[in-house]
């Protein structure tokens, strides 16, 4: 299926869901709700899943499955505390032995785990509560399965190690070595043909708990080789290894495992990962272990790793646009000469007009009220703006070129691609930006290129504005981010919007997509100013 066909299919699903939500009348729609909710979960359309489940519950649909869908949608949309509340209401209604109860306990464990990881270190009492609540749920799921549910068991193990490392009370204690050995036996007893998609990821976590990193590498390799391992699954595994197991700080071998997983995630269609600014800034000069890269990624591991490193190096030229109210957008460094020969010798920051504008009538921030922070270079430094060199309205190129008081800040201009990629089988583009949320981090995400209005086949309704559409399974983009091509991380576009977008090239209709403005359209407009 081509990217455009897949996007059209997802759009069809979303339209059906929106239609059902609008016309939902009550119990007689029960089967339609259940069927569509299952499809939305499968396609990870959690915004509509949440809306559908919530609407059905409002209309009296109190089936446990619908509440479970709502809880999962809330957790996957970064609202784990609300998800935990929904599950707290649901769990007492489920009998032991009901498969939904095992699922609900697992989700409850996950929601409290996410709550704990989202809390600042200073909120110690809240973290303790979330940690012990998560451990209690996973423990119940593990016990009620007759200590066979290895997924629940390994999460309990991970929480126990985390609690031990951070000197936090877990509630009922866990004997770490004993549980690790027990889980080894549970996993070994599963016949190869009965292993699910998580088998090797779970085994890798157990190996980490046993400090057998060679075994962890072996299981991760097998996990990556499985066609069931999606980009989404990988992102979850990566989160588990970095946030809970803190593998990045487990010496060069542990860090190499994380970096190999990051590279594998980004290389996979639809892959994305968030990385703390500090991890980009303080990335050790020593490269990942070649042996680990080869063990996990195979013969081309070092090439894949170098490619990802190039992307992370580009993140150093990406900045947050900050207002007194907080971060309001993203920008990136460009060489003046790459946009207009008259700007040679100077470097600038490009962002969206809807982020920074001098027009007080627009819903944007004045350059006088904003500064920049290059979080991967010097997060403590406020880089002052020195006015707007050029700007194009939101309805046209939605771009603002900022002059910056650089002083001695080192941030290299990003290379600019002369051409857009060909809209062809499997072409992908990459967005680096600051995702929503409190933590200062970068989001690197892989997007399918759906269509564009550039040469040679493009027919832009406004010849001076060439746009492109691309799509990631999760919406992490932020305004003003650079969009890169795959080959050498060269900038092809300025990201400016996402959601239900009108089709390009004058085609009728709309589809869910991210939209960027071709960087060469912007360069041409600057040259013609």
């Amino acid at each position: 299926m081509s990217p455009a066909e897949a996007a059209a299919e997802r759009l069809g699903l979303r339209r059906r869901a929106a239609g059902l939500i609008a016309t939902l009348a009550g119990a007689r729609d029960g089967q339609a709700v259940a069927d569509l909710a299952a499809e939305l979960r499968q396609e990870r359309q959690f915004d509509l899943l949440e809306e559908l489940a919530e609407r059905a519950r409002t209309l009296g649909d109190d089936r446990p499955r619908i509440s479970l869908y709502l809880a999962q949608a809330l957790i996957d949309r970064d609202r784990p505390r609300l998800g935990a509340d929904v599950l707290a209401g649901l769990l007492p209604t489920l009998e032991a032995g009901d498969p939904l109860r095992a699922e609900a306990l697992g989700l409850a464990g996950r929601s409290w785990k996410d709550v704990m990881l989202a809390l600042p270190e200073a909120a110690e009492a809240l973290r303790q509560h979330a940690l012990s609540s998560s451990a209690r749920s996973y423990r119940a799921a593990f016990e009620e399965s007759g200590r066979c549910n290895s997924w629940a068991g390994v999460n309990l193990l991970a929480l126990a190690v985390y609690a031990d490392r951070n000197a936090l009370p877990l509630g009922e204690p866990v004997e770490i070595d004993g549980l690790a050995a027990e889980l080894c036996n549970v996993l070994d007893s599963v016949a190869p043909e009965q292993r699910d998609g998580w088998h090797h990821a779970t085994a890798a976590e157990v190996a980490v708990a046993r400090r057998d990193l060679a075994d962890a590498e072996r299981h991760i390799r097998l996990y990556l080789e499985s066609p069931a391992t999606t980009a989404f699954a990988l992102a979850g595994t990566l989160r588990q290894f970095t946030r809970l197991w803190c593998l990045r700080s487990e010496g060069v071998r542990g860090r190499s495992i994380v970096e190999a997983l990051e590279a594998a995630t980004l290389e996979r269609e639809g892959g994305h990962f968030d990385i703390p600014a500090a991890a980009v800034r303080e990335r050790p000069e020593e490269p990942a272990r070649a042996a680990t890269l080869q063990a996990i990624l195979g013969n081309t591991g070092e090439v894949t790793y170098s490619w990802m490193q190039m992307g992370l190096a580009r993140a150093k030229s990406v900045c947050a646009v900050v207002h007194s109210t907080g971060r309001v957008g993203t920008g990136f460094v460009v060489a003046g000469a790459a946009l207009d020969p008259r700007l040679d010798g100077e470097k600038f920051v490009l962002t969206n007009r809807h982020v920074v504008s001098e027009d007080p009538g627009e819903d944007a921030f004045s350059p006088d009220d904003c500064h920049l922070v290059f979080e991967a270079v010097d997060p403590g430094r406020k880089v002052a703006l020195d006015g707007i060199v050029w700007s194009s309205p939101v309805g046209e190129l939605d771009a603002t070129l900022l002059r910056v008081r650089w002083e001695d800040l080192e941030a290299d201009p990003l290379p600019i691609a002369p051409r857009l990629p060909i809209v062809d089988a499997g072409q992908r583009v990459y967005v680096i930006g600051h995702p929503r949320g409190a933590e200062l981090s970068f989001s690197l995400q892989d997007n399918e290129l759906l269509e564009h209005e550039g040469p040679t086949a493009g027919k832009p309704p406004n010849p001076k504005v060439c746009k492109l559409h691309y799509r990631a399974p999760t919406e992490h983009g932020s305004s003003g981010s650079p969009v890169f091509n795959r080959s050498e991380w060269k900038v092809i576009a300025l990201h400016h919007a996402g959601g239900e977008m009108a089709r390009l090239n004058g085609n009728s209709g709309s589809w869910p997509a991210n939209e960027g403005i071709w960087i060469q359209s912007i360069a041409k407009a600057i040259q013609e100013r």
Binding site: N299, T300, V303, T304, S306, W307, A417, P418, R419, L420, P421, I422, D424, A425, Q427, G454, P455, T456, N485, R486, S487
Partner: protein, 308 residues
């Protein structure tokens, strides 16, 4: 927008678009040259259907260059072509001698009608039946093209092989965007076709650069059939830019291994102008296009020719 025209070599192939995607993936693999990402358009001059009834359905095996026996471009149904004249017999014998060893050449020369002769290439550790099959395929395709043989691959379809393939190549070159760099990347028998068209077909537009990989153009027998344009002193085609014709060879590639250096055979006004580059492909079968396309030497030179 820069453009690359690919032209494939002998033997049956997957259908055109699948083959183009395989070549693109092979170029891009392992941090290679991703033409699509760089905004470079491409087209495949496809001519396997002139000689074969159906495309090769075994796409995965074709792409898996590591599987050496599958990497051999060979149609099991192929036969050594019938030599209808002494000229053709000598041609076949000469090619076979260089590709297959003196024993085969002697048998072919003695019996122009002979079929299924045992031919060997001792330096390539592949099973004999595979070597035989490849040689039969090569002899048939190169003969049918250079002698403009008749072909009727499907009921009701008749081609003069050289006329048809020339017209396809010329059409592809004319259809390419004319306002930017245009490079032809050719493999095996495709190098002969590309050269023949660029040198001998009057209405074939000029291109900026030519890349030949695993080419039999070094063989005298082939050169003799590239008249009227070919001469050793002035064999170099006219290009739109000064980028040199790049020729990649592997000495253990049976197609180009006998005479891999082209610079001394295709001079420009008596001066050597071709950039002959030796590479070492992995595995026992060295002629695969996908293996050449994975070579850093090819990727670097193609990127430079395209101005990337």
């Amino acid at each position: 927008m820069p453009h690359v025209t690919f032209i494939h070599g002998i033997g049956n192939k997957p259908e055109r678009e699948q083959l183009r995607q395989i070549w693109l993936r092979s170029l891009a693999a392992a941090g290679g040259l991703d033409l699509g990402a760089e905004g470079v358009t491409s087209a495949m001059v496809y001519w396997a259907d002139v000689l074969h009834a159906e495309p090769d359905p075994n796409v995965a095996a074709y792409e898996a260059a590591a599987l050496d026996e599958h990497g051999v471009e060979a149609d099991p149904a192929a036969d050594v072509p019938t030599a209808d004249s002494a000229d053709e017999a000598l041609f076949l014998a000469g090619i076979a001698a260089k590709l297959g060893g003196t024993l085969a050449a002697a048998e072919l020369a003695a019996e122009p009608q002979a079929r299924g002769t045992d031919l060997a290439l001792e330096r390539i550790p592949l099973p004999w039946p595979i070597k035989k099959l490849f040689l039969k395929n090569f002899l048939r395709d190169v003969h049918d093209y250079l002698f403009n043989a008749d072909s009727s691959p499907r009921p009701g379809e008749h081609y003069k092989v050289r006329d048809e393939i020339r017209s396809r190549f010329v059409r592809a070159v004319k259809d390419a965007p004319q306002d930017d760099v245009h490079v032809v990347v050719s493999h095996s028998m495709g190098t002969v076709i590309a050269y023949d068209c660029l040198k001998n077909v009057a209405d074939c537009p000029r291109v900026d650069a030519l890349v030949t990989i695993g080419s039999p153009l070094g063989l005298d027998e082939v050169q003799d059939k590239l008249d009227p344009g070919y001469s050793r002193r002035d064999g170099y085609p006219d290009f739109r830019s000064s980028t040199p014709w790049v020729n990649l060879f592997d000495r253990l590639d049976p197609v180009c291994g006998f005479d891999p250096i082209l610079a001394n055979d295709f001079e420009r006004g008596g001066v050597k102008a071709i950039d002959d580059v030796q590479v070492v492909n992995p595995g026992s079968w060295r002629h695969s296009a996908v293996k050449y396309l994975a070579q850093a030497e090819l990727r670097t030179r193609l990127a430079a020719a395209l101005g990337l």
